[in-house]
């Protein structure tokens, strides 16, 4: 079955956006970003492509959601950023997980599997 990709819109408190886009559960985007950086450091576009890839095209992350999340997570100390060269020789800002970010990914993964299990059970129950 073919389905259209979900767009990730992370809403900050002061931002006003048309309400017709799907809002992911708060914190989901953070988790996806952490997951995408688990193996290697990536720049912004790399992260968004990696999320598309690992969610098999379900999630598309737009810059308007991605960058506020990246900057917030960097300020929270989960990510560290450095400037580097991209594969086609462009300067790009690369993000990688810090130790705190790795811990956060672990606990988020556990929490998420608990929640998805619980919701799955709830929906399947009669």
């Amino acid at each position: 079955m073919k389905h259209s990709p979900l767009q990730i819109v992370y809403t900050s408190k002061t931002q006003t956006m048309p309400p017709d886009q799907t809002n992911l559960l708060l914190g989901t985007l953070d988790m996806l970003i952490l997951k995408s950086l688990a193996l290697a450091e990536l720049h912004g576009l790399g992260i968004s492509r990696r999320i598309e890839q690992i969610s098999r095209g379900t999630f598309q992350v737009k810059p308007g959601s991605l960058f506020p999340a990246l900057h917030r997570m960097e300020e929270q100390g989960w990510l560290a950023a450095t400037w580097g060269e991209s594969e086609n020789n462009r300067r790009a800002k690369y993000y990688k997980l810090t130790a705190a970010g790795r811990r956060q990914l672990n606990s988020e993964t556990k929490r998420w599997s608990r929640i998805s299990l619980a919701i799955g059970r709830a929906l399947e129950s009669n």
């Binding site: 900050s12 408190k13 002061t14 931002q15 006003t16 720049h43 912004g44 576009l45 737009k62 810059p63 308007g64 960058f67 506020p68 999340a69 900057h71 917030r72 960097e74 300020e75 929270q76 100390g77 989960w78 991209s86 086609n88 462009r90 300067r91 790009a92 800002k93 705190a100």
Partner: protein, 910 residues
């Protein structure tokens, strides 16, 4: 997340903003470039690839804004943006800013000044740790009073028997102070405020000396054995330049050498808010520093010590009171002569002050200043509303561009806060000036005595609270209304039409009406007090206060005994009487408006309805020439004579009030002659004269108290006041010599006469009676009249400015309408009347409401007025007329402007 990373981000975001911004810009551009690379790789032409990338990206600026919103310190940045905007507006509308800041400064400054006044005379806790659990113990002969000192012997017994107290101490202020000099040669003696204390005085108040040590227990007990003192921090600083090796240094007090053992901390200025001692002397050394040292410590009836204490943990005030009651009745059984009917009264320090009845002036003035602040806020609120209406297009543009309600309200509130801050600063300056004024108005009672007015942290907290109140009251409602109006303006596109009938314009009229009503109340109070104050000047005091000089002397400070002092005074009076320019001279222990005392007396044949025999009566010991000097007529019997010597039979003169209240019918005062009265010692004193009533200090215009006089030779003390009536116009024509220049001739002559007798003695104070009355008797009436009048004027100015604002605003709103009327043939006079009527209707409504409130509130100030009814019709009429005139002027100018409207321009208006 860790606080540290958060702080690091905060620092980066706030202080390296440009770098963070450049970094973000580069990052987003690089993202867009990578995206267009991707598109190119999929086979698009370079320019199409870039366009598609840009479309996919969305607006770079929007993304940047979203990133900024999540940054740490985002709110701080927004706050600074609001602040910059506010400051820009402050500069952009200078007249608006001035009026708002002045209004708030008056409101806030008045509150701060009155708070500081009330704090100094009522609220400020004594400067000791845990001040709220200091307990006061008064001793009083039952029913006469609830205040009174304790004797040293009673104190010692109480300490030995009471179990409720963790500590109990006594102290006694030496009201004339002491002559102190360092033991260094050539040190000049200076008058210092002294306090006689029990050795546990400092430990009771939990005060530790900053240098040296506290008193030792034996230093407070063994009489005249340990000449030690603890000095105040200010004296240490002033005289000893904070010498760290102060302990063991000598100091001369009234000619006796004492050793300094310690220095009190800077914050500790004594346990009494009206007396700040320089030198603390153990009570055991009383003989060296007071005249009647032996009495001080040995007489049970010599009750001059204030008692303070702290309760043991878990003991309630009522339990301690119960214990003291039984101790006091025990003492009464053991010492029936001295302790008859004596009871102890326990209170907290604050409870005692409240009972002393000092609350009237602070609560009256406090109520008035809160009204002034409310008016200032109402004025500012109405100004804000007016400006919001004029800025409605600006605000609706902001809304159209996406500003949220919250952001707009926050921005307007920031502006109110900035203005309130300026108002607070200006108000602080105003309060500072007022406080300096209070200081100069306060009666000079002696060294370090009287309320201590100051602009301290407590006053500044009051300023802060007033500022916050001002922001909330004056800013909040207008901010919400402004945003609401602007929203509706966005919808209807026509700014003026929507606002003209809006809620805020009704609200403004109510605010202004309320202001006028409040200003009527304030003006009434101010007017009544001003009138009362001017009446107080002409009240008949019962003696002639013109050309009276008062010279207070205390030979005790030179170590005189009572007898030596009496001889000194006698000789001095004789010399002064013969000086040129002096008509009469007399000596008295207590002179109205200078000092006062009251003693317990019983009158044979008088018993109060409740069975009490003793009366607490104001008195003075005076010499034979006192009545002729003061020009107090003797109505019946005789004045004192030189024959009323120490060993002669005891005689007394009573005033009319005493005679008519306690002895005989008012119409038959001569029957008081020959009756016998007694002091606590029980010796008979025959009444030989009845003097005319005269004021004895206190509130001018109040009915004179009962007073009795005793001969100076029989009951006088060393500290006395020389009363001198200058002859003035007797020698020359009536207009020649003004009292001031006359005094400048007589005073040096008196000083010379004094130093001829003893070169060491100099007057403690020299004063004119009129000045003493003005300071002492008119102190509170003057402050109340001055402040009441000032508040009334401020209120009227605020209300007038407010009304002016409302009417001008209305004119500008209705310019178009006026234009149409005039095009259709309305006369200028008709337009003028229409606008004037609009203002005057508002003003009269406020006036009527205000008059009703003022009439209802009038009885509350009755007791504070002298010779003026609280319903004084003249004052009511004058206030109403003044207010109507002011409001008419305030409405006239905008009305006149309305008549100059050019119909053509008006129709094009908007």
């Amino acid at each position: 997340m860790s606080l540290f990373t958060r702080l690091a981000s905060l620092k980066r975001n706030l202080f390296r903003r440009q770098r963070t911004e450049a970094d973000l810009d580069a990052e987003l551009r690089s993202y867009a470039d990578l995206l267009s690379d991707e598109n190119r790789a999929q086979g698009l032409a370079p320019d199409k690839a870039r366009r598609k990338a840009q479309i996919d990206f969305g607006g770079i600026e929007q993304v940047k804004e979203q990133v900024r919103d999540v940054r740490v310190g985002h709110y701080i940045e927004m706050f600074f943006r609001d602040l910059r905007f506010a400051f820009r507006n402050v500069r952009k509308y200078p007249s608006f800013t001035t009026i708002v800041v002045l209004s708030l400064a008056l409101g806030i400054g008045a509150n701060a000044a009155i708070f500081s006044l009330s704090d100094a005379i009522l609220f400020r806790p004594i400067p000791v740790p845990r001040a709220d659990n200091v307990i006061t113990v008064d001793t009083a002969a039952s029913k006469l009073t609830r205040y009174g000192g304790s004797s040293w012997l009673d104190y010692l017994d109480m300490v030995a028997r009471a179990k409720s107290f963790s500590s109990l101490c006594v102290y006694q202020g030496l009201s004339t102070g002491m002559n102190a000099s360092t033991t260094a040669p050539g040190s000049k003696p200076q008058n210092v405020a002294g306090l006689l204390v029990s050795a546990n005085y400092f430990s009771t108040f939990e005060i530790a000396p900053v240098a040296g040590r506290d008193f030792l227990p034996e230093e407070g007990i063994t009489p005249e054995k340990y000449p030690v003192v603890i000095i105040s921090y200010t004296l240490w600083d002033r005289v000893f330049a904070k010498d760290p090796a102060i302990s063991g240094k000598g100091i001369n007090l009234n000619g006796h050498t004492f050793t300094i053992v310690g220095v009190a901390p800077k914050t500790f200025t004594g346990a009494d808010i009206f007396y700040r001692p320089d030198i603390y002397v153990p009570a055991a050394m009383a003989a060296q520093v007071t005249g009647d040292g032996a009495d001080t410590l040995k007489q049970r009836s010599y009750r001059a010590f204030e008692m303070r204490g702290r309760l043991n943990p878990g003991v309630t005030l009522a339990q301690a009171q119960g214990e003291l009651n039984s101790i006091m009745s025990g003492l009464e059984r053991e010492h029936p002569d001295s302790n008859r009917d004596n009871v102890a009264i326990l209170r907290t320090e604050m409870g005692r002050r409240m009972e002393l009845g000092m609350t009237a002036v602070p609560s009256l003035l406090g109520g008035l200043v809160v009204l002034v602040l409310l008016m200032a806020c109402a004025n500012v609120a109405s100004l804000f509303m007016a400006r919001a209406t004029s800025r409605i297009k600006e605000t609706s543009t902001q809304i159209a561009l996406g500003a949220s309600r919250g952001a707009l309200v926050r921005q307007l509130l920031t502006e109110s806060a900035v203005l309130a801050l300026f108002g607070g600063l200006a108000g602080t300056a105003l309060a500072y000036i007022c406080i300096a004024g209070f200081r100069s108005l306060v009666p000079v009672l002696g060294p370090a005595e009287g309320p201590d007015f100051r602009l301290d942290s407590r006053t500044m907290i009051c300023v802060g609270v007033a500022c916050v109140v001002a922001v909330l009251l004056s800013g909040l409602a207008p901010a919400f209304m402004a945003v609401k109006d602007a929203w509706s303006a966005v919808m209807t596109t026509r700014a003026s039409a929507s606002a003209s009938r809006s809620f805020s314009s009704v609200a403004r009229r109510i605010l202004i009406g309320g202001q006028i009503a409040l200003s009527v109340v304030l003006l009434m109070v101010g007017g009544l007090f001003l009138k009362s104050f001017s009446r107080a000047h002409s009240v008949d005091l019962g003696f002639n206060s013109d050309r009276l000089l008062l010279v207070t002397i205390d030979p005790l400070l030179q170590g005189y005994t009572n007898e030596q002092a009496a001889r000194f005074h006698e000789q001095l009076v004789r010399r002064v009487q013969s000086l040129p320019g002096v008509a009469f001279a007399a000596v008295a222990t207590n002179v109205p408006f200078v000092s006062g005392a009251s003693w317990d007396i019983s009158i044979d044949g008088y018993t109060a309805p409740d069975g009490e025999k003793f009366l607490d009566i104001t008195n003075s010991a005076v010499d034979p020439s006192y009545f002729s000097t003061m020009q107090i007529p003797i109505l019946f019997g005789r004045a004192f004579a030189p024959t009323d010597k120490r060993n002669a039979p005891g005689v007394a003169i009573v005033n009319e009030t005493l005679a008519s209240r306690y002895i005989t019918a008012p119409g038959d005062l001569s029957k008081a002659l020959g009756r016998i009265m007694r002091l606590r010692d029980g010796k008979p004193i025959q009444i030989v004269g009845v003097a005319k009533d005269s004021s004895y200090g206190g509130q001018i215009g109040a009915p004179p108290p009962a007073v009795f006089y005793l001969p100076y030779d029989q009951q006088g003390g060393p500290r006395a006041t020389l009363v001198v009536r200058m002859s003035g116009n007797e020698n020359s024509s009536a207009t020649s010599v003004a009292p001031d220049s006359e005094a400048s001739l007589v005073v040096p002559a008196i000083r010379a006469a004094m130093s001829e007798l003893d070169s060491e003695i100099s007057p403690v104070t020299v004063d004119k009676m009129t000045d003493a009355i003005s300071r002492q008797g008119l102190f509170l009436p003057r402050i109340v009249a001055f402040l009441g009048g000032a508040f009334g004027l401020v209120a009227m100015v605020l209300a007038t400015v407010g009304l002016y604002g409302v009417v001008s605003f209305m004119v500008s709103r209705r310019t178009q309408e006026i234009g149409i009327r005039m095009t259709l043939g309305a006369q200028r006079g008709a337009v003028l009347r229409m606008v004037l009527a609009n203002g005057l209707i508002l003003a009269s409504t406020g006036l009527i409401v205000g008059l009703v409130i003022a009439l209802a509130a009038a009885p509350t100030v009755r007791s504070m007025l002298v010779g003026v009814s609280p319903y004084d019709p003249a004052t009511f009429l004058a206030i109403s007329a003044a207010l109507l005139a002011a409001t008419a002027i305030a409405s006239y100018f905008p009305a006149a402007r309305a008549t100059r409207v050019d119909p053509i321009l008006a129709l094009r208006h908007d």
